[in-house]
Every structure is written in structure tokens, then in C-alpha cells.
Amino acid sequence: MKTIITANGSDVNATLDPRFGRCEFFCILDEETGETEFIENKAKLQSSAAGTTAAETVIEQGVKKVISGDFGPKAKSLLDRFGIQMVILKDEGQIIANVINSITGK
């Protein structure tokens, strides 16, 4: 199963980006293998509907779960529609590597 974590940078030492729609990168994690891939969030500079466009990317990637700090109402309803689970992490300074470890249980 694949999970997306919103990240401030493009490697596992980056921190969790709390803004779903305007995050810098998406970290795509394969939970079985522990492999990660980082893609840029093309919606981040959009003047409007950034949340929707970001949700679009998430849905296209075929993931089942998204981890971020906050989701806007539009992103939420779109993600909901495709049965994608949203996880809100309030601890903003978290390093991506730690988030991954807590998921994969290492």
C-alpha cells in the first residue's frame, strides 16, 4: 500500500509540511518495501484551488493514505470521495524519516 506524506524538502531528512495544498513536496512511501519517492507539488504556487489540485495528484498516484498537518474542505471532500484516508499530524517539526518509521514500525 502506498502513502503520501507532505514534506518541506525532497529527502527523508526534510520535515513534515503542515499545509496540504501548498506543501513543497509529496513523499510517496511504499509501505511494504519502505521505498520512497519525492515529487514536487505543482499546486503550491497556484492562486486558487491549490488543495483541489494537490488532491488530484494524490488521487492520480493511487495512494490510500495521506499524512499532513491540515486539509482544506475542498481537498477533504475530494479525497473522501475516493476513499483516501487523511491523517493529521499536529507535530509540525517532525522529520519525514521518523514519520516513516512510525508507519512501517521500525
Binding site: 497556484q46 492562486s47 486558487s48 484551488a49 483541489t52 489540485t53 488530484e56 488521487i59 492520480e60 493511487g62 475542498k74 475530494l78 470521495r81 475516493f82
Partner: protein, 290 residues
């Protein structure tokens, strides 16, 4: 042709509504009974609150054509998404999802042009309400009210202005506060703009921006200083330097402010206040005859 006067202000809270509703009363009583008041502050129309005897005469839904995607014809090519300047369209090909957010759509029609598969159909979408009121004197009040959640201020204002067109010999528009595009739409074709300000540093700051806008639009205007006596001389110095006409100063009066906040209109208040509005009208008429 109607004579069109628009009351504007660079910021909220200057007493623009006070001036607009009282000026309406004065115009009807002292100048021309055939005067219509139009509330263009569609986000927060409040002129109505000052007319105790208002009776609803007509109510029309204001709609905007928003395209919808027929998913049985859509090929999920995303062409429409590329054409939409307003990010209103979401198409996700792998999951065959396509939809348009009405609150982001500006009805520009670009997507209709882009779609080669005939998958887009225009549907009417409610964006606001237009209401006409009898207020007991004059031609009454025409009010535009934006539907909650809609961002289509300018289309609602345009619709209301279209309705007002030539509906009376004098039309008094109450524009929204600020300098946004909805203000531009409201003042656009005015024969005269009355800018309401207060003599405070904030008032001055916003007045300058508003004056720039009105000058850019090349419209004749004058300033009404409301709440005169409060604040300082900076607004006066600015107006003098710029050679801008002061139409009238309306002194700040606590008792009056209190009565007004209770929704009273001039007719029931101090005669001294009525004089200020008569002076404003006289100045505008002088301008008109030039």
C-alpha cells in the same frame, strides 16, 4: 437619460451608508421625487435597515451560467483544465473524475471552446438575489445581495445596475467600500462620484487609494468629510494640495450617531443635519449644469 450619482468610500466604517440613505431622502424631498437608491454593496447590503416602512415589491434570483461536465461524453483529456485561468476544473483521468467548482468559475467560456468532445453543458447557477422595495417615498430601493458562499460580486452588481438603467431620472448608487473590482463595476458609468471619508489617518490612507482609482477612471468626483471634528487636519491638507472639492463636512454628533445606529433616517432627525445634504445636492447640481 438618468443622472447617476455613486457614493463610494476607500474603507468601511466612514458612514457611507448614512450618507447614501440620507442623500436619497434629501434628493426625493428637495430635488426630484423620481429618484432610485441602489445598494451595490452586495456582500453586506444594509441600506434597507434604514427604511422602517420598506415593503418588498419584487424579488429576482440572479444566476450565472456555469458549465457542467457530462461524464458520459468526457474523454478526460484535460484540455479544459489547461484553458481554465481560475483553476475551477478538476479532471483526474486514472479515476475518471471530472467536475467544475461553481464558486471558482468566472463564466469566461474558455473551457467550452477547449472541449472537442461536446462534454460541457452550461447550467444556470444561483449567485445572488435582487430585491426591489417601496420605502414610502421616492422610487424606492433596489438591492443586490450575494448568495452566501458565492464569490461572484461583480456579476450580481452588473445585473442590479442593468435593472436600474433608466428606471428613474436620478439614480443613487451605494458602492461597496474599498477599491476592489466590485467597486470599479459600481462606479464605472457614474456621472458624479461622492467619496465619503473621515478625517483620520486611516481615512486619509484609504482616501488616497480611492482617489487614485477614480482619477484613473477619469470620473468627476467630490469629497464629503463625515464625522468632521474627529481626527486631525491631514485629510484637509491632502485635499487642498490635490485641488479636490470638498462637497460638504458633516460634523460628528454623538446623539445623531446613536439614533442612526438605531436605524433612523433624516426625516425624523435634527433639521440641522438636513442642511448638509441640501448643500451636497446643490454642489452636484452646479456641476451638472456646467
Amino acid at each position: 437619460m438618468s443622472f447617476k450619482i455613486t457614493v463610494a468610500s476607500g474603507k468601511g466604517g466612514t458612514g457611507k451608508t448614512t450618507v447614501a440613505t440620507n442623500l436619497y431622502w434629501s434628493l426625493v424631498k428637495n430635488f426630484d421625487n423620481d429618484t432610485l437608491l441602489v445598494d451595490c454593496d452586495v456582500e453586506e447590503p444594509d441600506d434597507l435597515l434604514f427604511f422602517k416602512n420598506a415593503i418588498l415589491r419584487s424579488e429576482v434570483k440572479v444566476t450565472q451560467a456555469v458549465p457542467e461536465i457530462n461524464t458520459s461524453k468526457c474523454t478526460y483529456c484535460r484540455k479544459c483544465v489547461e484553458y481554465c485561468e481560475y483553476n475551477a476544473i478538476t479532471v483526474i483521468p486514472p479515476v475518471q473524475y471530472a467536475s467544475i467548482a461553481p464558486d471558482l468559475c468566472h463564466s469566461c467560456g474558455a473551457c467550452l471552446y477547449a472541449c472537442q468532445d461536446d462534454a460541457l453543458i452550461e447550467k444556470d447557477h444561483e449567485i445572488g438575489l435582487m430585491s426591489g422595495y417601496d420605502v414610502g417615498f421616492g422610487k424606492g430601493l433596489l438591492e443586490g445581495r450575494l448568495k452566501i458562499g458565492s464569490a461572484a460580486q461583480t456579476p450580481v452588481i452588473r445585473r442590479v445596475k442593468k435593472e436600474a438603467l433608466d428606471a428613474a431620472s436620478v439614480i443613487l448608487f451605494d458602492a461597496p467600500p474599498g477599491t476592489s473590482c466590485s467597486v470599479v463595476t459600481s462606479v464605472l458609468d457614474a456621472d458624479f462620484v461622492i467619496m465619503v471619508t473621515e478625517p483620520t489617518p486611516f481615512g486619509l490612507h484609504d482616501l488616497k487609494i480611492a482617489v487614485e482609482l477614480i482619477r484613473e477612471m477619469d470620473l468627476p468626483f467630490g469629497v464629503v468629510i463625515n464625522k468632521a471634528g474627529l481626527g486631525d487636519r491631514a485629510v484637509y491638507d491632502y485635499l487642498e494640495d490635490e485641488g479636490i472639492d470638498i462637497l460638504e463636512e458633516i460634523p460628528f454628533n454623538e446623539e445623531y450617531a446613536r439614533k442612526f445606529s438605531e436605524g433612523m433616517i433624516l426625516s425624523r432627525i435634527d433639521k440641522n443635519y438636513a442642511i448638509h445634504y441640501q448643500k451636497i445636492i446643490r454642489k452636484i447640481l452646479e456641476f451638472k449644469q456646467q
